[in-house]
Amino acid sequence: MKLAGLKSVEGAHDESAWAAAWVPETDTRPSLLLTGSLDETVRLWRPDDLELERTSTGHCLGVVWVAAHPSGVIAASSSLDSFVRVFDVDTNATIATLEAPPSEVWKLQFNPKGTTLAVAGGGSASVNLWDTSTWQLIATLQIPRPEGPKHSDKSGNKKFVLSLAWSPDGKRLACGSMDGTISIFDVARAKFLHHLEGHFMPVRSLAYSPIEPRLLFSGSDDAHIHMYDVEGKTLAGAMSGHASWVLSVDVAPDGAAVASGSSDRTVRLWDLGMRAAVQTMSSHTDQVWAVAFRPSGGSSRGGRLASVSDDKSISLYDYS
């Protein structure tokens, strides 16, 4: 397996680029790359030349994360002012603005069927689920507060929810916290199942393997990528190599590799067979906040990986 740089756009945003997601193709257009930045814009790029399709504003403070609906028609973005904006990808028309005080909003992701949008709720230690047809809040998955007499002030922050990931079947939702724990929920019953431990620093990114639905990958500030068997509640492996925080992980559509972006300015490709980094890309000059594989399927041929960085640039790679 191999990554090959295709195209880099310097100054793709006016400020640090923090978020990236692929919008699936529709009947009328191919899949597009959606990026969000501290410059309060969400931009849409057409691969492989990364032509800027559109810049959309509408957020105050920085854009934290972006997510696209599986249909490719709508997308959502979250920002530091704790709003989620849902908009039509092609027209940029705002469909809904979501907020659930006092929850902040961090990562968000549509479930595989596209019926629910999950939003990591930050300090509320919960994940909010929104119905994508009515845009009503349908459930709040609360992480149980640790037991013990004095968890009031200090421990309150620790379950701060940063990241989340839907299992491929949409039955499970994993979310990662500041204290390094990963919580697994049964979505249908809106029930907390168990924790996965191993990290002790913020888990900023989670990704399920699209091939093996039990396999969950986590990237943490402890510079490690962990591989968990969610159902078996076991730590299947730990991969080290990044020199600083792992900010983002994503699993390749073939399930054989994981890409990671780190504060150490690199993008790495990990061979899951060898459980080792097989390639290190150093095209970025600052923290790499997001890496995203283009989902397989559709007319677009060839694996693509996109990465965005604090250095305001976007890079596109061919994955094979």
């Binding site: 403070l61 020199a243 600052d286």
Partner: protein
Amino acid sequence: MACVYIPVHNSQEEVRVALDQLPRDATDILDILKAEQAPLDLWLTIAREYFKQGKVDQFRQILEEGSSPEIDEYYADVRYERIAILNALGAYYSYLGKIETKQREKEEHFILATQYYNKASRIDMHEPSTWVGKGQLLLAKGEVEQAFAAFKIVLDGDRDNVPALLGQACVEFNRGRYSDSLELYKRALRVHPDCPAAVRLGIGLCRYKLGQFGKARQAFERVLQLDEENVEALVALAVMDMHANEAAGIRKGVEKMHKAFEIYPYCAMALNYLANHFFFTGQHFLVEQLTETALVVTNHGPTKSHSYYNLARSYHSKGDYEKAGLYYMASVKEVNKPHEFVFPYYGLSQVQLKLGDLRSSVSNFEKVLEVYPDNCETLKVLGHIYLQLGQFEKGQEFMKKATKVDPRDAQASLDLGELLISSDPAAALDAFKTAHSLLKKGGQEVPVDLLNNIGVIHFERGEFELAEQSLTEAVGDGIWISLIEGKVKSNPTDAAESVRLYKDMKIFTELEEDDGPVELPWNKVTALFNLARLLEEIHKTEPASLLYRLIVYKYPDYVDAYLRLAAIAKTRNNIQLSIELVNDALKVNDKCANALSMLGDLELKNDDWVKAKETFRAASEATGGKDSYSTLSLGNWNYFAAMRNERRNPKLEATHLEKAKELYTRVLVQHNSNLYAANGAGVVLAEKGQFDVSRDIFTQVQEAASGSIFIQMPDVWINLAHVYFAQGNFDLAVKMYQNCLRKFYYNTESHILLYLARTHYEAEQWQDCKKTLLRAIHLSPSNYVLRFDAGVMMQKYSALTLQKEKNKRTADEVRSAFAELKNAVRVFGQLSAAANLNFHGFDEKKIATHAEYCKHLLEAAKLHCEAAQREEEQARQRQELARQVALAEEARRKAEEQRKKQLEKRKLEDELKRVEQQEEHFKRVKEQWKSSGPKRRERSDNDEEEGGHSEKRRKRGGKKRKERGSKSRYEPEETEADMVDDQEYPEDEDANLNYREGPANETQEQDDDEVEENAQGLLAAAGLEDSDADDEPSNAGKRKPAWSESDDDAPEQQPNISPVRENSAEPQESDTEVIENSEKPNGDDDMDEDD
């Protein structure tokens, strides 16, 4: 059978005496000799026969009788025989003297001998045989030069006198002139080809000394042909056999020695050699017996020296250094000059070295070096000793010489490298590499230590790939390779148990179950540890942890491995596990200062202040106060303690600061180049407001710290930036913060971003400030202080913008201020909402106050905004108007120009016409000659008038334009006047601010008693922020100084420096210390067994 016939006096008869049947009692013979007045030569013959038969007493009896005064009288004219008898006696006593070991008897013998010879000389001064005898005596007495003179007298008379020749040869031999000696022996042999074997022995010895071993051997063999039992020849041959240095030769040699020993058990030489042999075969008992015998039978200095040497060596090898030292000393005493026999000096210095008497050792080694100036071993040993004596340069000199003497001596290069390692790593690396390639070329196995050292030096120089190569080569093949490559797959760990990942040994037990025991040879442990350390450094933490665990699994006493595992766990923020691992290390050694220091750090991280202090104390005591790390930690502890108390107790703070300063100073006294202590001292100074001094200190520390990969001191960068900040040098502070972030933290440290934001804030760079804060929030989302600060910043910006004089702000600015205000309201609103849920622990009321204030401001801002919009509208209209006017003017100007052009054109045409008319006129004038002049002048006047008028008109137009311009300029003045009314609002706002300040302060007063600070009458926000800090939820020790604290205060205010405290003492130092300790190259000093 030989007989002598004693002639019967006065007759023709003879008495026949069979020589082999001499009577036991010599008196019988003497009686006959005396009675028959037998010639003296018969006396001598019989005496000699007795001597030959070993009957020494009879021999002496006869000769003494034969030299008695009566005989002298009777045989007065028989001179030669009398001399012969005296000489025989002289020779006999010479011999006795020679072999006598007791000094007194020896001298008595020599005196007797001298007396006899002198008596002989009195009979005939010139008798050669007497001189020969005298020469022998002198030789025996060791007076070589006089012996030479005696022999010379003989040889001058008869140059072929065999005994004299032999004597002289002996003299020359003793003088060390072997070729001369050889010549003399040869001459003697030519003169007297049948001379005894001893002559050939002499030849053999000469040849041996001359290095002609083949011929020497022939000579010795010839001796043995002549005299099978010649011990000297046997010994000599044996020595030669042994020196041949091959098994067969040695065996033959030993056999010969045995034979010689059996023939004559008291030959010291043979004894020594046998002892030597048994030394090598390890039969120390025999060595002692033999050498002791040898010592008894000889008093020949060199031989004795040899014997002592053998004994000493035997004890040396048995490890009895005291005895060995004594015997070496005895051996050395027997040697006059080291040149004669240098080995005991070597042995002696070795023993002295072993016993720690370095100086004596050095002097003896240097004596060895006098003899063998190029002896590598000696040079190396001297190098090492000088190093131990602290004379590094001399040590290196010797080592370098050793490597030069034998550039192919890998050991020398290796030693040189070890010597240079601490002073000059680059040179050491070169030496090691030389040693490495030499060993490789020689097909020898490269020692693990060497590869380890090479690896470590590369490591220290930051050449990680080379280091990895060397270290991988060092550890060679083993289970660890598959561990590094991740080929060993352990059964998945239960996620709940993965918390204790770095203590998990399951993987090894599983391996043992599957593939048999896991091996780790002891000599590879260090290299493996270093390899693990390297992997850790290049962030391959997992394999590194496996290697550490392997080490701990096989060697549970390896403290450093526990500590590294603890450090990994600590880096990954698994404090509990880290503490457990440190405790494991402490179980091995509860006085391990490194482990204790680390434990202290961990306890500090756990907010266990009292415990941490105790632990640091214990660490300090464990090393008798010499461990600067624990002292530093205590200093930091005091510093933190001084800064920790939010409700500052000035007295307590001062005490703690003073204590901190004292501790830092103590470290600096011990190690005047300790960067961390210097940094600490700088922090204390800065805390006291001495910024210039502290800046100098920080700058120096920063420079010093930039050299090594193991010294990572971001703190000093931050401190320096803080000082710049405190001195108002914001640009430099910003640069410093940014560089620090980038260089040390991969831009991930939100605290520094906060400092950066604060600097931007003070510098009123609002956009930079905002972006910085947003970045910080993004990095550290659960730090609500950052949000609060962002809110305050936006509030401040908006307030400032709205307060600006109207003509100094743009509508855009007002609009963005308005937008920021809205954001601020939202931020405060969220914080307020979250406060209910105890997310962060801010005081709800204060947030509410802020929120309200912002809302109020927002309302006010709406007016501003509208005003600004209105103004903008007006401005636009004005612009539009101005534009239209300008357009109109332009159009007019163009029209004017057009007209002017037309005018000119017309004028030109007119002119032309006029010329034509004039010409026509002229023609007419020509015709009507008299009446033309006045008419023409009139016309030109007219023309002039016209031109002037047009000019005037143009001027008037210009004036008109000017008037317009001034009018349009006037308009803004009018609007300004309008806005004067508006200024009420800002005033109102101020009033509001002040109004709000009241209640805010009140609440604060209720909260805490700290009135003074609030009495300063700050902006509401400032007061609020101060009190917020009190309630701040996050680490009490690491209080985040929100920059808004000093909202309106001059930057010199003390809290400005407060960020320093957090970073002044990152516990990371402990990691470095562990590294350093563990990476001391494990070269062993193998200098005690060079033999």
